[in-house]
């Protein structure tokens, strides 16, 4: 199971934080982020992407699997039930999905659209388990929901629809 997913930038600022095995309290969450960042940031890119560091909040036998893209570290904390290479691929899928969604994703996209990043992630991993790995299915779901999102904002709500209703009614009366 994936215990948590953390995206931090090169200076340790969190860009996305998702705990699947609950770590309660913001204090502890922040300390996990700091710990993860400390362990990850000291490793040059030439090192392997696995870190058997310990994060006590998640218990023993946790492996940190991460990838470093430009200014961002994508860190997945997983237990022994996840495939080591599989998770690396999954990170790649996640980044591709972000890239498709934001068109040439960069750190700023993640900063200003942290909610959307969450929505994308939710289509790939749910509750700590891999939901979908096919990039097309993922994008399909993301785009559908994005469309619904926009529709629902545009659609007139029942309260301010007085005018529309009256015009409709008016048309009826005329008829």
């Amino acid at each position: 199971m994936i215990k948590g997913i953390i995206i931090v930038n090169n200076s340790g600022k969190p860009r996305l934080v998702k705990f699947y095995q609950n770590v309660f309290g913001e204090e502890r969450q922040q300390s996990v982020i700091r710990r993860v960042f400390q362990q990850v940031s000291t490793r040059p890119d030439s090192f392997c992407n696995y870190l058997e560091g310990s994060v006590p909040e998640w218990g023993e036998n946790i492996k940190l699997i991460y990838r470093h893209y430009a200014t961002l570290y994508f860190v997945f904390a997983v237990d022994a039930q996840e495939s080591d290479l599989g998770i690396l691929d999954l990170i790649q899928v996640f980044v591709e999905a972000l890239d498709k969604r934001f068109a040439n994703v960069c750190e700023l996209d993640l900063i200003f659209h942290s909610d959307k990043v969450h929505y994308i992630l939710d289509e790939i991993v749910m509750g700590g388990m891999v939901l979908e790995t096919n990039i097309n299915s993922i994008l399909q779901a993301i785009n559908d929901q994005e469309r619904m999102h926009n529709d629902s904002m545009r659609k007139a709500g029942p309260s301010d629809s007085v005018d529309t209703i009256s015009t409709k009614l008016g048309a009826g009366r005329n008829w």
Binding site: L16, G25, S46, L51, S114, G127, G128, N150, S152
Partner: protein, 1079 residues
């Protein structure tokens, strides 16, 4: 007024780099205001910002209620924000009352997925499932399980997938659900859509990680998947799953080898390849057949694994290299010898030790013990020691640990030259930054000196060096000696001290054995008179090397003890040769000067230690100080005595010191042997005469000699009692008169009756009692004291023969030797313990002995009847519970220092939250009582007839209103009132308003509604109950009513301001009353 959007907030934070915290706290205040708004858009926007701030570490648990409100919006965009806020911000869902509010909302969403035909519903349901997977609690799980299971048949694979995965999270919190629904999960393995099957496999893999044997019956299906499927993602999971089943069913291991090998040969995906190889290595641990033979294809399989893993390790990709090493680690668990013939692999692994990446180095280090042989051990360790120098942090400790593990494995099987190993240990002890390993090194050091006889004198020599070089050294040597400031781990100092002390008779031999070229510097500082003196100086100086740090008390205690041992050896040194040559044969003698210096240093430093805050140090130094006095050495200053006369006194005292301090060499005893000794029971008690034979009375020559014992005025300076290990200043506190004992037996007769004083009897601890018995019996044996039986009357030690409770216990005692006593005093002391326990109970309970025993036997009976069924051996009494304690502690001791870590199959540290799930047993059929919880509406109990029409009236009104335009729709206030237990009030209000105009009703109802749903931020239990009931009343329509609440609120403008204000402070009941009055 325009609210800041998330974008504005982020921009603002980036602009306020200097005072970010201030800016954020201002914004949080703003968000709090916005959340009070009745407009859901404003609320959602505020929540969005808050969710962002949560990521930065600001709590948002106070906004939980608002997120539930936003979740209930019909607009997808707002709903999403609410769900996200709930997932991220709900702190401890198990404890939050707000989670309960979501029950009906989620239920409605899950049901909604099946109703509508449009694809949009499926995404609405998806959101709800996703949220549920994050915030599920036991109650939520129980309530929503039927809906989730229903969704497993949903036409869209998107929903089926999500529902499946969510089920796992539900089971974590609500484990009983697993038994109820596992059949449906099994069906999903045959789903038409591959990604659903993949998710099902995923869920079962997770489940089987917690309790594999539940899923063994599914093995054939997975086997089929393994051979037929082409989806790599799923295959990885299947392989993982089968791997976790193998320990439960070893036959599966042999079956799996072939298909797994096929995958290894055919697949191109590295991830699957690795997982397959790893699974094979797991299987290899279990392939042995019942008759012990291995299947014939094993060598081929092993070769395939080695080849594949070698390929991984050779790869330039660091990730593959790492995985290759991990794979080797697993393979070597079952095939430890496989690398011995593979010199190429050996080289690869050794290369990895010099890799830059610490993860890879650590993994390679773990493999090293499989590569070492007798022949290459020395070379490897030498290389590793060089690595230690270069390494840092945790890895340095790992290296040292591994070095020691390699050397000590299998009782030092690989070590040829133990002197070399001692050197290695000394080198390691001098390395900084490996404090965590200090104790292990110390243990090894002692162990080697203890067990390996030939290397003992060399170990003494190295220990001596270590101790002496702690001193400031001799001035002229410091300049050209680079080792002058050598550092040693504080933990190894006691070990060195013990070796030097215990084998102090070997000191001359150790110093002689030097090859000549490297002379040991035996000077602690410029005043050192010789090796013995230097040692004593080193060990009694309470300061560390540079006088900066104090030595820990524990070490001090060991030092004091062993400096005395060294002193004893020094005294004995020239004894044999003294007078013959005037010079010892081996050239290293202990001159008069040195002895005198030793005495001087000892006496001076013991005085310092006597003021130690640590009892252990204090006790020992007191004892030894008194011992020195009693053998006739001066109290404080040696200035008055010539060194020659001091030396004579010392040499005269030598037998005593040696007899007391180093009576016979210690032998290494393993924990197992000790336990066996205990199990044998203790030997029959010795008779007084037998004891006498054991004691070397010559050692106590001075007891006959009167002169040093009395000062001029006749008061006692010291007695044999001062050699008490338990009592420090008895000599001065109670003056003992020496009666006829001295004249009759030629021995000082100790006052035996002081032992009998009640105070002492109560305070005696086991060790003390043994010692005292020893002394008292010494005296009685030689001085014709009254026979033991009579003397023992009235002595608390011997109560055992009188008190019935101990008799009661003795037959059940399997062996009194279980008590931690030396054999001499054991029986008596056992009795004491028993009687002491008895007396404690007596005091507290105020019962008679008989009552106590009766009650005890009653308890026994009860216990017996209980435990008989379980077949558990009964724990009978106090002493056997002692035994249990020992057994337990023995088990701990027994665990080998360097047992290789168990294979990864036993999963240590399984998180607590999985425990319950692991307990679920799927192998037994469902019982009748185990049915899915059914959701039933709460039926309002029938009311007395009178009120019924009113209720109906109210309901009718409600229905009428529902038909009206949604803006003045109000929920079923009457029903709510009832259920909340406000019957009379609720009806009164309806009654009261019935005569008034409908506008007034509107006003009242509007107020009430607003009060109930007002976003006070806190989780008002009344609010929640109301909300909950709302949902239950009309599951399908609650959304509309909830969604419209905002507008309804907005629409009612006739609500007067002061009511609004008051509603915050007053409870609903009061307000209702007030409203009624005003009307």
């Amino acid at each position: 007024m325009f609210e800041k959007t998330l974008n504005d907030l982020v921009t603002g934070i980036r602009a306020h780099r200097r005072d970010t915290a201030l800016y954020i706290s201002q914004n949080i205040a703003q968000i709090k205001e916005e959340l009070k708004s009745s407009d859901l858009f404003v609320k959602a926007n505020a929540l969005e910002k808050l969710t962002f701030l949560q990521m930065m570490g600001y709590t948002m648990s106070w906004a939980a209620f608002s997120s539930v409100e936003v979740m209930s919006s019909p607009r997808f965009a707002l709903k999403r924000v609410g769900y996200l806020a709930a997932c991220q911000g709900l702190d401890q869902p198990d404890k939050s009352p707000v989670v309960l509010l979501t029950t009906n909302l989620l239920k409605k969403e899950l049901r909604g997925a099946t109703v509508g035909g449009s694809g949009e519903n499926m995404y609405h349901a998806g959101l709800a499932i996703n949220a549920l997977s994050n915030i599920v609690t036991e109650d939520l799980g129980r309530e929503l399980l039927p809906e989730l299971l229903h969704l497993l048949n949903h036409p869209s694979p998107y929903v089926r997938k999500k529902a499946l995965l969510c089920l796992y999270k539900v089971f974590l919190k609500y484990p009983q659900g697993l038994r109820l629904s596992f059949d449906k999960i099994k069906l999903c393995l045959e789903d038409a859509h591959p990604s659903v099957v993949s998710c099902a496999v995923n869920v079962i893999t997770e489940l089987s990680d917690k309790n594999p044997k539940n899923y063994l019956p599914l093995a054939p299906e997975f086997f089929k998947l393994l051979t037929s499927s082409a989806n790599n993602w799923m295959l990885i999971k299947v392989v993982k799953l089968l791997g976790s089943l193998v320990p439960e069913e070893p036959r599966l291991a042999r079956k799996l080898l072939e298909p797994l090998c096929n995958i290894v040969r055919s697949t191109h995906a590295k991830s699957l390849l690795y997982e397959a190889v790893y699974a094979i290595t797991l299987c290899l641990q279990y392939v042995k057949k019942a008759d012990g033979s291995q299947p014939s294809n094993i060598p081929g399989v092993v070769d395939l694994c080695v080849e594949t893993l070698k390929g991984f390790v050779q790869d330039s990709d660091q990730n593959l290299k790492y995985l290759g090493l991990v794979g080797f680690g697993s393979l070597l668990q079952s095939q430890p010898k496989v690398l011995h013939s593979q010199s190429e692999c050996k080289g690869l692994i050794l290369n990895c030790l010099s890799d830059e990446d610490v993860t890879i180095r650590t993994r390679a280090l773990g493999l090293l013990k499989f590569v070492t042989t007798k022949r290459n051990l020395v070379e490897l360790i030498t290389q590793l020691l060089r690595h230690v120098e270069a390494a840092s942090g945790e890895y340095r400790c790992d290296l040292v640990e591994e070095i020691i593990r390699m050397c000590s494995s299998n009782k030092y099987e690989l070590i040829v030259d133990f002197a070399w190993y001692v050197d290695v240990l000394v080198t390691i002890a001098g390395i900084r930054g490996i404090e965590s390993q200090g104790e292990v090194i110390a243990k090894q050091w002692i162990d080697v000196a203890w067990r390996v006889l030939p290397v003992r004198s060399y170990a003494v020599r190295r220990s001596l060096e270590v101790l002496v070089c702690r001193g400031p050294g001799v001035a002229e040597l410091v300049t050209d000696n680079k080792d002058a400031d050598r550092h040693f781990l504080p933990e190894v100092l006691p070990a060195a001290a013990w070796i030097v002390g215990e084998y102090s008779h070997l000191i001359p031999e150790a110093l002689m054995s030097s090859d000549g070229d490297d002379e040991v510097d035996t000077r602690y500082d410029s005043t050192s008179k010789g090796p013995y003196h230097a040692l004593i100086q080193s060990m009694t100086s309470p300061m560390d090397t540079a006088g900066i740090t104090l030595i820990v008390c524990n070490t001090q205690a060991v030092f004091v003890q062993n400096s005395m041992k060294v002193f004893a050896a020094a005294c004995q040194r020239n004894l044999q040769n003294f007078g013959n040559h005037g010079m010892s044969i081996d050239g290293i003698e202990c001159s008069d000067n040195e002895l005198a210096a030793c005495v001087d240093t000892l006496v001076k430093h013991l005085e310092v230690y006597m003021e130690s805050p640590d009892v252990e140090v204090k006790e020992r130094s007191f004892t030894f100080h008194q011992l020195l006095l009693s053998v006739g050495l001066p109290r404080t200053s040696t200035a008055l005595f010539s060194s020659a006369s001091l030396a004579v006194t010392c040499r005269n005292a030598s037998p005593t010191l040696t007899y007391l301090l180093i009576p016979e060499p210690m032998k290494p005893i393993s924990a197992k042997a000790q336990r066996r000794k205990l199990a044998e029971g203790h030997p029959s008690p010795l008779s007084v005469h037998e004891w006498e034979e054991d004691i070397n009375w010559q050692a106590f020559w001075f007891l006959e000699d009167q002169t040093p014992w009395f000062s001029q005025d006749g008061s006692i300076k010291g007695t044999a009692e001062s050699i008490s290990f338990t009592k420090q200043q008895s000599a001065s506190s109670d003056k003992i008169s020496y009666g006829d004992g001295r004249s009759t037996g030629g021995m000082v007769r100790l006052r035996t009756d002081h032992i009998g004083s009640p105070l002492e009897g109560a305070e005696n601890i086991s060790f003390g009692s043994a010692t005292k018995n020893f002394y008292s019996d010494c005296a009685s044996g030689s001085s014709n004291a009254p026979p033991p039986s009579t003397r023992r009357e009235g002595d608390p030690f011997y109560l055992s023969s009188v008190v019935p409770s101990s008799e009661l216990m003795s037959p059940t005692q399997t062996g009194p030797g279980k008590l931690p006593l030396s054999s001499k005093g054991t029986k008596d002391a056992a009795g004491t313990t028993a009687s002491r326990f008895g007396s404690i109970k007596l005091d507290s309970g105020g019962e008679s002995d008989e009552g106590l025993t009766e009650r005890r036997s009653d308890k026994k009976k009860k216990k017996k009847s209980k435990q008989k069924a379980a077949g558990v051996h009964e724990v009978r009494d106090v002493s056997s519970s002692f035994k249990n304690d020992f057994a337990a502690s023995d088990e701990e001791d027994d665990s080998e220092l360097y047992q290789p870590k168990r294979a990864s199959l036993t999963k240590p540290g399984r998180a607590k939250e999985f425990e319950n799930l692991a307990l679920v047993d799927l192998t037994t059929p469902l019982g009748e009582h185990e049915v899915l919880p059914r959701n039933e509406h709460y039926v309002v109990p029938e009311r007395p007839r009178k009120s019924e029409p009113k209720q109906e009236k109210a309901k009718k009104k409600k229905k009428d209103r529902k038909k009206k335009a949604s803006k003045d729709y109000r929920p079923a206030e009457a029903a709510t009132g009832d259920l909340l237990g406000f019957d009379s009030l609720g009806f009164a209000s309806v009654e009261g308003t019935s005569g008034v105009s409908s506008a007034a009703i509107d006003k009242l109802n509007g107020c009430e509604w607003e009060t109930l749903t007002s976003p006070t931020g806190s989780s008002n239990p009344i609010n929640s109950a109301f909300d909950d009931l709302l949902g239950l009343e009309m599951p399908m329509e609650s959304s509309t009513c909830l969604s419209n609440s905002g507008h309804a609120k907005g629409a009612i403008d006739s609500v007067d301001v002061h009511v609004r204000k008051e509603k915050k402070t007053k409870t609903k009941t009061k307000k209702l009353k007030k409203e009624k009055k005003s009307d």
